[in-house]
């Protein structure tokens, strides 16, 4: 074995330090190559020497320093007190119990076990050499073989003497992390079996085709130079048998699917193909039996070969796109750290969690499934699930949902529902269902495809008959076979579902969940968009609009209001903090303390700051007469005023209101540009609806209707009225109180509320509160429908031309077999590259909400 490896093993007894970058335990010794002293950035740090486990970590560390990002390390320590070396636990724990981690262990006849594990950190041939040199140093390990193509390692070991866990521990020292193969890799294995089958049959088809061709060549040569009659007959028979074998074994797949399609009476692409093969087979049998006319068996065998190759290429292309879609739609494939009763931790896929399991969720990772916090508290980002864009505090005993992002500190949760039953699982299954729905366009494609098959068969009979009459059977058979092979309605059948599925998957990336593929088709043509006001166009809560008064007063207000939980108080505090951050004025806000804070119900809040009595509350209550107060109420319905009184004198006024979300005007005018009409249907009875309408009209937006004070039923009536006018109606509102309206509109788009409820009411749910996403969604729908039309057009055009050429004899069967997959793949490519969701433009990413 290699000297380096031996050295590394001997060193295992040295004292250990933690790697300054990744936190991994490393040994220190004088000439140690694995514990490297920091050399690269000596000028960047003073103090104790830093140790690194490998060059990679040292490189990362010095890079971080050079970029001036050294806060990363202190922040990391701050955010997560118990940030242990993550990699080590990840590697070893998930392998301790192989069965639980879903790893398949094969036991061979001599008692040896075989297991395949994923390897992280595998880069090049040197890595594979290092790992493969391991066996002698671990007793019981018989062999280790690395497969670079999918970064996996196959271990052969004696289960009595060692286990993969030990190997993993050993390899971690070298920076390679072993783990169970991920779901994708497992799927890849199923795919590998299919791929092998394809290769297998291609090899057989190739053998048969090559031999048949040589025999055909001898026959042609014999025709030219003279050949004994019995030899010719023998060669014909051998060739015919080869051709027959080819049709019977590698070609069986086409007959089988054609037979299925006839049985189920659903015409399929393979019907013409199988007919073509059958015609070829009969032709070559007749040729062999009569000894007359041209030979077909070579054409037949090569046709089968090319068709099989084409099938394989199509399989690859479809598989690739299928994989990418699966990846797009895989929302709940998260790893979880399960804690056993004894306190041991193991990394398992979220789908293996059962109710009652305890799971540790570190900061920065996603909560794997619904549960209750059993230890710790933190802040969660739940936009994914509830649409709430601000971080939420989560205390012990509180219910949390899978898909929420843990922002602050490590918590432990007790699982309530398995990943499939949890909210996230339900959402993804709702969305996944949508991809298998057959929307009208897909149904149309299916119908056209069916008609197409019959038309092709009719054309083939016509071609065969005509040429038989004019030039005899050999020409007739050849041309019929070409025609049957080249006609390919698969483009029609494939394009529409693929485009819709891709669009749904990409939308999910943008946090737009689409439950119903029909919605995309309906959104492709302009109609009328109705908005709910509260929560959709506005924030749906009180916010400070402006402040008139001295800035010096704000810290005192904050001191008092931070002691209250009232919505107004919260709004004020938030406003002041924002102002502070904005002005970069670190006014000694936190130093000010408010004494004897008293709440006067319905009036305001009173307290003593800096020896002065400060009252924050209704302006009318102290300084205004009864008549003034009534006047005030009338003019002040849109905005609420809150006064700040110092020692009884009015010093400043806050105006509060339900503020328009930023970017609303921009988004609405973008919709208008696309030819959509706009309306506001609000349940809010205040004049605010009208004032919002006026505000929007000022920024150049025409509203068809701007109605307030509508009951849910009235909203529905209005939508029905618009629908009766022949407009596609789109309702955008929050998922709960607009449920009826969302369901009765042609397309309902829910923007807030728990998403799985929203998805049940409306076919589309937007997880992020971006109104800008709506124009993008509309563009995506238009693009998707256009892409489908383009694919249809391309497919029809292709088929018309090629069928014409084949019927008139310009295309040989071989060329036809080559062209057939090309057409299918072109359409797949067209569908896949259709720009349903173009990449974000700058303006969009900049004007994000909060």
């Amino acid at each position: 074995m290699s000297p380096t490896l031996e050295e590394a093993c001997n060193r295992a007894t040295g004292s250990t330090v933690r790697c300054a970058h990744c936190g991994l335990e490393t040994q220190v010794s004088g000439r140690d190559t694995w514990a490297l002293q920091e050399q690269a950035s000596s000028e960047a740090t003073e103090g104790p020497p830093k140790y690194f486990c490998c060059h990679g970590c040292m490189g990362a560390y010095s890079l971080i320093h050079q970029l001036g990002l050294e806060n990363f390390y202190s922040l990391r320590a701050l955010l997560d007190q118990d940030s242990q070396p993550v990699r080590k636990t990840k590697a070893s724990d998930s392998l301790k119990n192989l069965r639980e981690s879903g790893v398949e262990v094969q036991t061979l006849s001599d008692g040896t076990c075989r297991v395949r594990l994923g390897v992280e950190g595998l880069h090049c041939a040197a890595c594979s050499w290092l790992i493969e040199s391991l066996p002698p140093s671990i007793p019981g390990l018989k062999s280790a073989r690395v497969r670079l193509s999918d970064r996996s390692l196959e271990l052969l070991y004696d289960p009595l003497r060692t286990e993969p866990f030990r190997v993993a521990e050993y390899l971690t020292k070298f920076g390679y992390v072993l783990g169970p193969m991920h779901q994708e890799e497992l799927e890849d294995r199923a795919d590998r079996r299919l791929r092998q089958e394809h290769w297998y049959w291609i090899a057989i088809a190739f053998f048969l085709a090559a031999n048949a061709m040589w025999i055909a060549i001898s026959l042609y040569a014999g025709e030219a130079t003279g050949i004994a009659r019995e030899h010719e007959r023998f060669l014909r028979w051998v060739g015919a048998i080869l051709g027959l074998l080819s049709a019977a074994f590698p070609g069986r797949i086409f007959f089988r699917s054609a037979w299925q399609s006839i049985k189920t009476r659903i015409p399929h692409v393979d019907v013409p193909v199988a007919t073509g093969l059958l015609v070829g087979t009969i032709g070559s049998l007749i040729g062999a039996a009569t000894g007359k006319g041209h030979v077909y068996f070579d054409s037949l065998a090569s046709l089968v070969l090319l068709l099989r190759i084409g099938r394989y290429i199509q399989f690859r292309a479809q598989y690739r796109s299928g994989m990418s879609i699966a990846k797009l739609l895989r929302f709940h494939d998260i790893e979880a750290v399960r804690v056993t009763a004894e306190g041991q931790k193991a990394t398992v896929p979220a789908r293996q969690l059962r109710p009652g399991d305890r799971v540790e969720v570190r900061s920065g990772s996603m909560i794997p499934t619904d549960g209750v916090i059993s230890k710790g508290q933190t802040e969660l980002q739940t936009a994914f699930i509830t649409g709430e864009s601000r971080p939420q505090r989560a205390m012990q005993g509180q219910e949390v949902f899978g898909g929420s992002l843990n922002l602050k500190s490590t918590i432990e949760i007790t699982v309530l529902k398995s990943a499939h039953e949890g909210r996230l699982g339900q959402i993804s299954s709702l969305v996944q269902q949508a991809t298998s729905d057959r929307t009208p366009l897909i149904q149309l494609a299916d119908r056209v495809g069916r008609v197409f098959v019959w038309v092709v068969l009719a054309l083939a009979i016509g071609t065969c008959g005509t040429w038989w009459a004019i030039q005899g059977p050999s020409v007739a058979i050849q041309r019929t076979v070409s025609l049957l092979t080249i006609a390919c309605p698969c483009a029609l059948a494939l394009a529409a579902p693929l485009v819709i599925t891709v669009a749904i998957g990409r939308a999910a990336r943008e946090k737009i969940w689409i439950r119903d593929g029909n919605a995309l088709e309906r959104l492709s043509k302009p109609g009328l968009i109705c908005f709910d006001k509260t929560g959709t166009l506005t924030f749906g809560e009180l916010r400070v609009v402006d402040w008139s008064g001295p800035v010096e007063l704000l810290p005192s207000v904050e001191a008092i209001q931070s002691q209250s939980e009232h919505p107004i108080a919260k709004a004020l505090v938030e406003f002041i903090r924002l102002e502070n951050a904005h002005a970069k004025e670190q006014v000694s806000a936190c130093l000010l303390k408010a004494h004897s804070v008293e709440l006067e119900v319905g009036q305001g809040i009173r307290g003593i700051v800096d020896g002065r009595e400060v009252f924050i509350g209704r302006i009318d209550s102290q300084s205004q007469t009864q008549t003034q107060r009534q006047e005030q109420d009338r003019t002040d319905e849109v905005y609420r005023k809150v006064g700040v009184f110092v020692d009884g004198n009015l010093q400043g006024v806050f105006r509060l209101g339900d503020v328009q979300r930023p970017g609303v005007a921009k988004a609405l005018s973008a919709l208008q540009q696309r030819g959509w009409k706009l309306a506001i249907l609000s349940g809010d009875d205040s004049p605010h609806v009208q004032s919002l309408g006026l505000e929007l009209q000022k920024s150049g937006i025409d509203l068809e209707e701007c109605l307030g004070g509508l009951s849910p039923e009235q909203k529905k009536e209005h939508l029905d009225r618009f629908h009766a006018l022949g407009l596609t109606t789109v309702m955008i509102g929050d998922g709960i109180n607009d449920a009826i309206a969302l369901a009765s509109a042609d397309v309902g788009i829910a923007v807030r509320g728990p998403s799985e409820i929203a998805l049940r009411n409306a076919p589309i749910y937007m997880g992020a509160n971006h109104l800008e996403l709506i124009p993008r969604l509309l563009d995506a729908s238009t693009n998707a429908v256009q892409a489908i039309h383009r694919c249809f057009a391309a497919s029809l055009f292709y088929n018309c031309i090629t069928i014409g050429l084949a019927a008139t004899g310009y295309i040989h069967p071989w060329i036809a077999a080559v062209f057939m997959p090309i057409s299918g793949i072109t359409v797949l490519l067209m569908a896949w590259t259709a720009r349903t969701f173009p990449p974000h433009s700058k303006s969009l990413t900049q004007t994000t909400f909060e």
Partner: protein, 57 residues
């Protein structure tokens, strides 16, 4: 009796033997990773490894 009647079947059988070998390669997954083997031939010190292997196991 022409030699053709013997030669042609033999030729096809020889070809079939090649086909069989190829199918075996596919089935045992020898075409799965064309990358690692090309390096392995350059880097492995297999004889030494197997000696150690027999000793230790």
């Amino acid at each position: 009796m022409s030699v053709l009647y013997i030669a042609l079947p033999i030729a096809i059988l020889l070809g079939a033997a090649g086909l069989w070998a190829c199918l075996r390669c596919i089935k045992t997954g020898q075409y799965e990773d064309l990358e690692a083997d090309s390096y392995r031939i350059l880097l492995d010190d297999q004889p030494e490894l197997s000696k150690h292997d027999t000793k230790s196991s």
